[in-house]
Subunit: 435 residues, 2 copies
């Protein structure tokens, strides 16, 4: 078996065997196969695709390139959620404590912000002192103690994925459904979980803008996970306007706390409760979705979910003071309101534009090396469907970068579309994909 | 402009601009673009193709990566021939002195043997003392003096091609018509010639086995050459059985000398004369093909072509003694005859099998680092269409490798097919492709 013949086979549109996929992925992870052969294969996969069986073998080989967690000794169902990323997506901050309060174990490995998309790790780290780089032992211990922990990728998990992702990023082979599937699922399988709920977003602020692409990715993820014996469901959800009102790091933490206080915006809670309910069903906490929703609402209104969030923050070293006294958190040098240029009903707020504006304000990353200003961001005053009068406030920008404010303010305005008539509200959950 | 965007464009099946192609080829030649980006682009080109205009820009950029010869001060038409390679293809050894004797200038840069395909340089080097590594100045001088010189690629010519070919060889992207076209033509354009005749072979021993692929390559070569202002014609010729009787290095030189003595085999002379006649027409030496053929036959029968061959060998340092006394050339340790296993008419002799057998006997290379035994090879006793009796000699193997003789003898027999009825002779020239 040689890398050459495996490349030639995929080039010719043939199906690779499990052994061939193992050979190439393990060889690449061990630096035995050079980048230039891997990138030729990645392009051939991009253009000729992979069957679900090939994708499952790819995922498994990537998983086996590193360490796999084992929660066999921890009682209870270990269930995680993963989102393909969007703007204002602080669902994990609400969902993780909520479903842990319901009795699930939640070993959540999250990612960082890149381009217009936010990252759960950065949001958590906006809480002073919060550590996302726990050791595996600390992670295990915390899951046992409080049922939930939220940390970053460790170097030991899926090293093949890290190497492949960097190569894909340089060779225009990111947007391939089998490669995306392998990257997402290998890391989730490494968590040693019993079930997975996926939030596959579609719309202007999503990685998969078109619904048909989101659906294809969701199907690939669910089928590939099942072939690797991980029960998985995917919700396809809208990401046309930002989720909730806040986009940025600290502003999103504050909004998540509002949600845990029972004061969450409709759209954000709709997605959070739909995903959380699926997790309770997968973990056999409740029998029906209605029961699950009742339980979740009760855990919010009793304060149990908020308490669990405080427990996470305390256990991971975060300063609780700012959760209770957000007004004491460092303020941005500039708080710039943006006003409606016309009277009408907001028909759309382009999430991509808002996400990119947050990065310009200092709240995100264009490249992985960029430093984040946690307090920078945008808080919307209105959402799609709201009727506003000309001159009314649409949003507030928070930033320390005086020189970008004017440009970003203008750019933000182009993200808003208005119409004369009423805008029909759309359900955020478009579909549920099951095996 | 970035390599990433150029890769993404070709990945999406779009047409690259001249500037984009220049950027990527020059960047790669200057080590500014890494192998892993180039190999992703090569795979995208392999799978999505290139227009003739893109291929012409690719060829031009590859040409411009290095030195271009200039024969403006040398009177006469500079015309070369290039073959896509085959088994027993010693045409260049006959054609170069022949058309030079007719008055053309022939600055011929040739290649080496690889896999089943022979190489003109290795054949010439089987003549003791023959130098194929002349300096450019020596090359110019020889063209002026005797009208013809046969040397190898210099490091200064098309360095981009050398780097790209090595990468293609490792990433399963050799068999791409635009990439083959760029590789062949960039080197021919670097010769500074006025016209080019191509021998695009098709059949079992050819790179392009199927006629439709050979035709597509011939059309790409002719159109791309014309877009780079090089008048070019391509002959599509059969490479089903070896050309002539000899396959190996020294045995082919001997057969070429026989041809120059006027004793060449029909098939070999048919291809040689067809290509040579096109060269004379391109160089305005004669007005019609019939005139050209008359002139060529006359140059052979007068001994002028043979004299020109001796001049080449003498000028390039080769020992003329062995040309007149081939019986004094070192003999192989083993001369193994192979006998007909049945009575019948030979219906085919698989050229690929014969070519690979020559390599096994020591007369070729599986990889570029292999040493060649010049005297090793195969001389057929019969060709397709011949009627043989069981036990009659079919071929003789020449080798120093005792351990392979038995295996190769058996393998050779499977290359021969027999039938009861007469085999119709086919013309070797299938078509001529002009712009």
């Amino acid at each position: 078996m040689t890398a050459y013949h495996i490349i030639a086979k995929k080039r010719d549109g043939l199906i690779l065997t499990v052994d061939e996929i193992d050979y190439i992925i393990h060889g690449y992870a061990q630096n035995k196969i050079p980048d230039y052969q891997m990138s030729a294969l990645l392009m051939a996969i991009y253009l000729n695709g992979m069957t679900f069986e090939e994708t499952a073998a790819l995922t498994c080989a990537m998983l086996e390139s590193g360490f796999r967690m084992n929660f066999k000794n921890v009682p209870g169902q270990k269930i995680d959620k993963h989102s393909t990323g969007g703007v204002g997506d602080k669902v994990s901050l609400i969902l993780a404590p909520l479903v842990a309060a319901a009795g699930l174990k939640v070993p959540m490995l999250s990612g960082r912000a890149l381009s217009h998309s936010g990252g759960t790790l950065d949001k958590l780290e906006s809480i002073p002192g919060f550590r996302t780089n726990l050791s595996v032992d600390e992670f295990y211990q915390q899951i046992e103690q409080i049922g939930v922990s939220m940390i970053g990728q460790t170097e030991r998990i899926c090293p093949a994925d890290k190497k492949m992702y960097a190569l894909r990023d340089a060779t225009a082979t990111i947007e391939s459904i089998p490669l995306i599937t392998g990257s997402i699922l290998s890391k989730k399988l490494a968590e040693g979980i019993d079930g997975l709920v996926l939030d596959v977003k579609t719309g202007s602020g999503a990685f998969m803008r078109r619904l048909e692409d989101a659906r294809a990715l969701a199907e690939s993820l669910v089928k590939t996970a099942m072939l690797n014996s991980l029960p998985t469901r995917a919700l396809i959800t809208r990401m046309d306007e930002p989720l909730g009102y806040a986009a940025g790091n600290w502003v999103e933490v504050k909004e998540a706390i509002d949600c845990l206080h029972g004061n969450g915006p409709d759209d954000l809670m709709q997605v959070t409760l739909a995903l959380s309910a699926q997790m309770l069903l997968m973990g056999n906490i409740t029998k029906t979705e209605a029961e699950a929703r009742d339980k979740l609402n009760q855990l919010i209104h009793s304060g149990a979910a908020l308490q669990k969030f405080y427990e996470i923050v305390r256990t991971q070293g975060g300063n609780l003071f700012y959760l209770d006294h957000p007004e004491k958190y460092a303020a941005s040098k500039i708080e710039q309101p943006v006003f409606a240029p016309q009277t009408g009903t907001i028909s759309s707020i382009n999430a991509l534009d808002i996400g990119l504006a947050v990065v310009q304000l200092g709240g995100g990353r264009f490249v992985m090396e960029d430093q984040i200003d946690y307090k920078a961001g945008i808080v919307l005053a209105h959402k799609v469907g709201d009727y506003v009068k000309k001159g009314e406030k649409l949003a507030t920008l928070f930033t320390d970068h005086e020189r970008v404010v004017e440009e970003v303010s203008e750019h933000i305005l182009t993200a808003f579309q208005f119409q004369k008539t009423v805008v029909a509200k759309k359900s955020l959950v478009i579909d549920i994909i099951e095996a």
